[in-house]
């Protein structure tokens, strides 16, 4: 090894510092890296796998970088050293094309399989529950069609039960995200989409709107509580008994731009129901995938909700 002069130490120090920061001096144990359900777990595994693959590249390049800089600084070389006149090296170039190809394949395969998996229920043999999550400027409205109740800015779900969120927006596009339970999906007006999530165990999480939607976007945080099924059921009963019914007028007022506190209703008016898309033209993959099945299940859900007029158009 060549003796290192001041200059070289500086470079090494910087590289070392960056590695230290990158390898995470402080463990991050919340959010994405703290999965609390099968969906988040699947994504976590994929993330960790990608970090491993990327670290290989990162380390190889960083080491080469530092070694070359240390070795070939002009100040370290003899006065009459002249760099050779090399055009390239086909073999080497093939090698460093092939290795990234392999790495990309190693990441692409689990990417594709997970992409397809995430379209399906995380626990196909459990009976799912459907919850409609609607973003409006600047609040979240959660409707539980099977239970007929509505909550605003907080969400309760049964633990250990796959939840099929039916996402929509009243106005600006937003994105529905509960990092501990799994990745997000956009909410859009007139284009309901579906997202599967599930909590392994009872617990409390924070969810949020994640796509900028105007002035008080930052306030679109909501709490999520996963409860044991029995606790969830008694909470629903409690709501049905004690919470007020929501009138048409109240619902309209709720949709107006502004922030509101937590709210609970034992019913919601039929105009609040999430509309099926009325686009003639554009077909939409993620939505369509499940479409026939979903429609069917929706209908089932509807049955306990007398007076709902499904056919909006």
């Amino acid at each position: 090894m060549l003796p290192l002069r001041n200059g070289a130490w500086k470079w090494l120090a910087v590289a070392g510092m960056m590695m230290a920061i990158l390898s995470g001096c402080e463990p991050v144990k919340m959010g994405v890296l703290n999965p609390k359900g099968p969906v988040a777990q699947k994504q976590y595994d994929l993330i960790i796998w990608s970090v491993v693959l990327m670290s290989v590249i990162l380390i190889v390049v960083f080491v080469l970088f530092v070694v070359i800089l240390v070795r070939f600084r002009a100040s370290k070389l003899s006065k009459d050293y002249e760099p050779p006149d090399v055009e390239g090296n086909t073999f080497l170039e093939i090698v460093w094309t092939a290795i990234p190809v392999l790495i990309v394949v190693a990441l692409a395969v689990p990417t594709v399989t997970s992409t397809f998996d995430l379209e399906k229920s995380p626990s196909p043999n459990k009976k799912p529950i459907t919850i409609e999550a609607t973003s409006a400027q600047w609040k979240w409205i959660f409707k539980y069609p099977e239970q007929g109740i509505e909550t605003v800015n907080y969400l309760k779900i049964p633990a250990n039960v796959p939840v099929r969120f039916k996402l929509s927006s009243h106005d600006a596009m937003n994105s529905f995200w509960i990092p501990e339970l799994g990745g997000q999906e956009y909410t859009m007006a007139d284009m309901p989409m579906f997202l599967w999530l599930e909590a392994d165990k009872p617990g409390k999480f924070i969810g949020r709107g994640n796509n900028f939607s105007g002035r008080d976007f930052a306030k679109m945080e909501f709490t999520v509580e996963a409860k044991k099924q029995s606790d969830f059921d008694s909470w629903v009963d409690h709501v049905k008994k004690t919470a007020p019914k929501q009138s048409e007028k109240e619902y309209k007022a709720l949709l107006k731009p502004g922030t509101v506190d937590l709210k609970t209703y034992s019913s919601y008016p039929k105009s609040a129901e999430v509309k099926e898309p009325n686009h003639g033209g554009m077909e939409h993959g993620g939505m369509d995938m499940d479409h026939s099945k979903m429609k069917h299940e929706d209908m089932e859900g509807m049955e306990d909700m007398p007076g709902m007029d499904h056919d909006k158009n």
Partner: protein, 660 residues
Amino acid sequence: MGLFNFKMPEHFIIMNNPLIIGAWISIILVSVGIVFFVTKYKKWGYLWREWFTTVDHKKIGVMYILAALLMLFRGGFDAILMRTQLALPDLKVLDAQHYNEIFTTHGTVMILFMAMPFIIGLMNVAVPLQIGARDVAFPVLNAASFWLFFVGAMIFNISFVVGGSPDAGWTNYVPLAGSDLTPGVGINYYLWGLQIAGIGTLATGVNFFVTILKMRAPGMTLLRMPMFTWSTLITSIIIIFAFPVLTVTLAMLTFDRLFGAHFFTIDAGGMPMMWANLFWIWGHPEVYIVILPAFGIFSDVISTFARKRLFGYNAMVISMVAISGLSFIVWVHHFFTMGNGPWINSVFSITTMAIAIPTGVKVFNWLFTMYKGRIETPAPMLWSLAFIPNFLIGGVTGVMLASAPADYQYHNSYFLVSHFHYVLIGGTVFGCLAGMYYWWPKIFDFKINERISKWAFWLFVVGFNLCFVPMYLVGLQGMPRRVYTYGEHMGWTTWNFVETIGAYLMGVGFMLIVWAIIYSILHEKRDRSGDPWNGRTLEWAISSPPPHYNFSRMPSRVTSADPFWDAKKRGETMFDENEPLKPIHMPNNDGMPIVLSGFMFIAGFGFVFEWLLIGFIGLLGVIGSMIWRSFKDYDADHYVQVDEIERDQAELKAALEGRS
């Protein structure tokens, strides 16, 4: 909405905030100061003759870079304000509305009005010199490009104080950006500022495409072009394909907002998702438009200061072509979370990851250019060296984002914010600075001071990592982008505070760069000989600054991709001195571009406020300027006579002898 409707927006003159009042005061003081000094020293004529009407690519380049530095200051100031607001939870430096305006203008200014003009400025400065041309193919169009960009930037920037800034993000997603949810003039400013500047950019693409294909020196085959010229050629092609999409998309939203069309509305059959698609069909190629030229700069700089020819020249070219092709088929990765279905997401995940392969090839080729080289580290090389590890971090996190299911967890979080800053700052900004330091002593007859620049470099690079590494972490902790504040209970406080410190360091670094420039203008040693870095390509074979016609004789010994280096080794120059000097055909200065752009300003301003009459008058003026120009085509050019060339040469000789 009649032709004669002159409705006033709610707040025409914005004055509701100490910051904005400060902006007003400084705008007025600076303008008055400029007018006063220019008048006092009788410089109006000089400015008009030498700058406002110039068609000289070097001067246009300098104006682009100056404007880019100004915009870097504006965008940087926005950034400092945002970081101050986010330093601690629940701060009240900015309110929600103000923060939203500032992140919107920050993003838009940095990409469209800082990165783009900086890159285009460097192309203007260097490309004709690198290929042995005396100007670009369409010099008047080139001036029009600059003035259109300038007018677009000015329109966008005055929104701050007149009428109100856009506030829907630089991506300007509908329906939020539609007139129902965001009435007022802010979004109109966005649409017209980008539209006008975009037209200028499109013209630049055409201009450089033709220049590079048609105006190379004898002997310079395509595969002997310097890498920066190659990157400019490829970038021009991307511009030609991508910018028309932007033009149409902006026009469609303008129709929605001004004339009640329904391209993107929620009701009446509009398709809001179409905006996201169209925006990113332009937007993703756009990010490659600002990175590929930086790649070109790094290639030239690294081989210059490693004193070794570029490793794998052909692979470098092929990988750039591959990247440019792929850049058109990855746009969906910006909205994997829009329910595209697993097939579409899978395909776009794979195309996106594929971009990393040619990019990786380039990184290794740069490393092996330095391997066995003789590495010197003046400022341009420092920025190029810093680029490699920093861009790599941005690149590998890009590959992570490319995995759709994982992106459901990163999307719109600070993880994403950090990714694109690592590529945009670590790639584009470092590249622009490297290029500026590198070609500065070509455009002027002095370097930028090394000592101050080293300080600036270290402060900036350390600050940059301090600012953005923690963003990956808070992103994984669930912090979304574009929030104006956050609660203590989220546990993001420490990292956010560190980020703010980093941002301030970057700010100091930037100020030091400006100081280095000012200091060098005053004190740095002058040298007109023209080859301060021991360069390899044609631009270093002529004096600094070059005469306005660049080459008094055409270079005649281009036999490789490093023609000047090889000539020096052979003990030759690039020119055949025995060849007699000939008169040189050059374009005349022209006032049309600035007049046309002035009318464009009127048009843009009118349409922003939906004062249609004024808008149409402006447009008529634009068309009138073009008609006027078509009639005065006969005095568009002149010859530089041999005695003037000889005078220039004698003067240069005297200057060089005086130096020694």
